[in-house]
């Protein structure tokens, strides 16, 4: 039983930011939640899926973010409250739909929850979803702590329903994945009945058809909604000010930076010198509220991550208000006080603030810095690597070897998943391009058409099973239809492994654990006319032969490499082989091997015993996949099937 539905109203519980958002949605009586897995957002749907049964929710992992928005919007159109969480670039994926939804309006409360990842801790971009709120012209809310994550989410549904507009609630990694105390409110006793009214007056928002046309009328309506949103924002209890009445300087912040600002003020003991204006309603900014605080002093320091979003919006208002309140100095990213890229942290903010206040601040004492430098040199160098026994290591081993042997400068267009690491040595640096979900096959489709211009390199793309359904399909169709020459290697590990084994259309289980029909990747590929081969990546030889064969074929080829992820709940802790290095056969560093297993293959289960000059298996880490047995040039690695 989950604390999310069992916790008592009025009591406080330690919740992860994402759980707080989920609880907020439950307190708001959410009915439908749809999304696509992506760090740092995934736990919102995961925690709701666990309570779906006893709260009569419908929760799904959709094929991709755009579809999840459409699914959630349908619920809203039918009068239900719906939520749609995603990682930052998920908004880009669905932005075409959102652009139209912003105009068409919504009925039941519809909340979009993008979780941004400043510093790209688990992303390959630092996308900024706040910019989308401005672009789409929809209200944006940013919780500044865990309690607010719950409260603001709950309020967002009411706001959305009042405005007939979707509302953005933006989180960031350090809020979504950190934990804090949250006081629970009541769970409503709701039993909503869904129904879609569509035969009223055509322009009636609640009963007519739902569309963005006529555009000028709907756009006008949207601006009226924004005006109403601003009115609500002027009095929102989620915008707070803490500090003296006449501060030297006001820090303006939102989201996780709220924590850093509070810490900075505390560390510098500057509570009586500076004020902290923490904004939750960051777009559109409420002008009266802003004018009140801009009038309190002359210097402002905006603390926010990624782009100077609030800084710019504040500057626009300050310029407009200048005739009344005078010229203000607004500092932040544009003047270089804070970095334009990467995450902020208490040190960065404290140092910057100290500078502005003329104070000395050293994040660490000198001897600490000295000591840590010494220790760091002794710490083992750890690089990003696939897990022990990861099927991707075996797959990329073969892909690399085949492309090198083929000797025509063939290359891989990479994609998004754990196998993104194949740009690094752990994947033998096989992938040479890397962009959005599904882009590997799209880019490959383009490369595969360049024969006409003399390009004769083999073109491969890789794609995970979840990514296949999410966004590689249109690219694959494109390649087939336009007669591109590519080989797509489908790394099928039976789950959305990177984000924690969420389901996808290729699997038999849905988000709530229910049985659902699985779609066969192989059948889909064959039906569109691609040549398909299937192999187990752990069988190095047959995978190599299959790939060599496909490289000779023109047109679109698909090699499905099927092997369940090592960490999958199904496989965990089951060793297939007992693996051992026979020291007497191990060539080690000498000519004939040169430490292939621990220098190149580098499964963490293999260790190099320097004293003995031999490789060894670390039994604790080895998961017994047995692949190293097939790569050792001297058959020194013995594997015995575990009964």
């Amino acid at each position: 039983m989950s604390i999310l539905t069992n916790g008592e109203p009025g009591k406080r519980y330690l919740l992860m930011g994402n759980e707080a958002i989920a609880r907020g949605a439950l307190e708001a009586g959410v009915s439908v939640c749809a999304g696509y897995p992506g760090t740092p957002s995934s736990e919102i749907i995961e925690s709701l899926s666990k309570v779906a049964g006893n709260r009569n929710l419908y929760v799904e992992w959709s094929t991709n973010e755009k579809v999840s928005m459409e699914v959630a919007a349908a619920a809203s159109f039918a009068g239900l409250r719906a939520m749609c969480p995603m990682k930052q670039n998920g908004v880009n994926v669905g932005s075409d739909f959102l652009l139209h939804l912003a105009l068409s309006g919504t009925r039941g409360g519809m909340v979009i929850v993008p979780c941004d990842d400043p510093g790209a801790l688990s992303s390959i971009n630092e996308g900024e979803s706040r910019q989308f709120a401005r672009l789409l012209e929809v209200p944006l809310l940013e919780p500044g702590d865990f309690q607010e994550a719950k409260g603001i989410t709950r309020w967002a549904f009411e706001l959305s329903e009042e405005l007939h507009s979707m509302v953005f609630v933006r989180s960031v990694t350090r809020l979504s994945h950190a934990s804090g105390n949250v006081e629970f409110g009541e769970l409503p006793q709701v039993n909503p009945k869904a129904g879609f009214k569509h035969d009223g007056f055509i322009l009636d928002e609640m009963e007519g058809i739902i569309t963005s046309a006529p555009v000028d009328y709907k756009h006008g309506l949207q601006h009226a909604k924004l005006k109403k949103a601003v009115e609500r924002f002027e009095n929102s209890p989620f915008n707070t000010y803490q500090g003296p009445e006449h501060p030297e300087l006001i820090l303006v912040t939102s989201s996780a930076c709220n924590f850093y600002c509070r810490e900075a003020i505390g560390l510098l003991d500057a509570g009586d010198r500076v004020g902290l204006l923490k904004l939750a309603t960051t777009w559109p900014l409420p002008p009266k509220l802003i004018e009140k605080y801009l009038s309190m002093t002359d210097r402002f320091f905006v603390v926010e991550e990624v782009i100077p979003f609030t800084e710019e919006n504040l500057k626009i208002l300050a310029q407009e208000m200048a005739p009344r309140i005078g010229i203000k100095t607004i500092m932040g990213k544009r003047d270089g006080k804070l970095p334009m890229v990467g995450e902020l942290n208490p040190d960065i903010v404290t140092q910057a603030l100290a500078g502005l206040l003329g104070l000395e601040y050293k994040p660490q004492p000198d001897d600490y810095v000295q000591r840590s430098r010494e220790i760091v040199t002794r710490a083992p160098n750890r690089e990003l690597t696939f897990c022990p026994g990861c099927p991707h290591r075996a797959s990329f081993w073969t892909i690399n070897n085949v492309l090198k042997m083929d000797n025509r400068q063939g290359f891989v267009c990479g994609d998004i998943g754990c196998y993104t690491l194949s740009t690094l040595p752990t994947g033998f640096s096989a992938s040479k391009t890397l962009h959005a979900m599904g882009s590997g096959t799209g880019v490959a489709s383009g490369f595969g058409k360049l024969k006409q211009f003399g390009m004769d390199q083999p073109v491969l793309s890789v794609c995970g099973d979840s990514t296949f359904f999410a966004s590689a399909l249109p690219a694959l169709f494109n390649a087939v239809h336009n007669q591109s020459d590519i080989t797509m290697v489908l790394l099928d590990n039976s789950g959305t492994a990177m984000t924690g084994f969420q389901t996808h259309p290729g699997l038999k289980t849905g988000a709530m654990g229910q049985e659902v029909p699985a779609i066969s990747i192989e059948a889909v590929c064959r039906s569109i006319g691609a040549k398909v081969k299937i192999s187990d990546p752990f069988d190095i030889e047959s995978t190599r032969n299959a790939l060599f064969e496909l490289l000779e074929e023109n047109g679109v080829n698909v090699l499905i490499l099927k092997q369940i992820c090592t960490l999958s709940p199904e496989k965990k802790a089951k060793k297939k082989f007992e693996v051992r290095v026979m020291a007497e056969k191990c060539l080690g560093e000498s000519c004939g091997c040169g430490r292939l297993c621990t220098r190149i293959f580098r499964c963490p289960g293999l260790i190099w015993n320097k004293d003995k000059g031999k490789a060894e298996i670390n039994d604790v880490i080895c998961i017994g996949c047995g692949v190293c047995g097939s790569i050792c040039p001297n058959a020194a690695i013995e594997k015995k099937e575990v009964a």
């Binding site: 090198k404 042997m405 000797n407 060599f548 000519c591 040169g594």
Partner: protein, 371 residues
Amino acid sequence: MQVYGSKELVEDVLNKDLCIGCGACVDLCPYFKTYKGKTAMIFPCTVQQGRCHAYCPKTESDLTELSMSLFGKPYDGSPMGHHEKILIARAGDKVHPAPFQAGGAVSALVTFAMKNGMVDAAVLTGRTGLIPYAELVTESESVARFTTSKYMAAPTLSAFNQGVKQGFQKIGVVGTPCQMTALAQMSINPLHTENFKDSVALKIGLFCTWALDTRKLAAYLSSRLDITGIKAMDIPPPPAEILVLDMGGKTIEIPLSEIRPLVPRTCLLCPDMTSEWADVSVGVLEGEPKFNTLIIRTRTGQDLVDKAVAQGFLTIREMPAVNLDHLSAAASNKKKRALAGAMEEGLLNTAENGKRAMMRIEKAVVERILA
């Protein structure tokens, strides 16, 4: 001969397009592999002095050192190298008739050497479609599967390396002059390994003016015909100037002028036409397509030929002087062409500031060859 590692092999040979794909560096270790006539390094290796570099016929081949070690005398640059006898030969009655390239002397000698226990395995070169492949055979009956010349660079020596790994100690090898050079370099224990054992028991060298680039030839031919239908190929001695393809029933002739651009540049820098480091060397015979030219170079070679003749596996006769003159002229032309080219490219006797050479030959000998 100075030995380096895989890094130098890649820099000096693979990257300079000097690799002939002989297979000497292949399958010694996990790093060098052959596929469709091309050798590739799959991962870099950190060993400073490796067998790959030591065996490669295109790195630091010190001909004086080889000659001293194999024949006990310095390399003198004579057109057909050190030899005891030059004869005409063909397979004897004891050999099952098969579609030999010429007289079948090669297949006859290999078969005999296997039967009489002189070798316990033989490294031969076959063909799937057009692509040559190497195989280690252990039954004399298998020799007939490998008759006829594949006029392409072949990774023959990879099968030799596999044979050594499998523990064979008396291996016979049939190969081109570059492959014989590699075997010679293996046999002088270039890395000064303790308890060194030379696993080559017999070197049967083929004559070779040049080979063709496998991939280029495949591309050239497949745009004109079905390459899976090629039964045999032949380049008859001058003045024919054609490549003849036996398509089973009909033959196709392709002028050599069309084919020459497919010769890898490394062949034009190769000084050896008659497999000078072999025990016996075999070529075609001018004017008599069903006979071979046979050169006996070593005691091992002489012994083999004597016994094969005695037991009916080989027949031999004297070589007329006019044939010898032609052979000598052709061999000497190849040497001249190679040395001039190598000199021009700075690959011969390169010494200053630690530069590495492809070939080392004493200065006086170079002058004599080019004279």
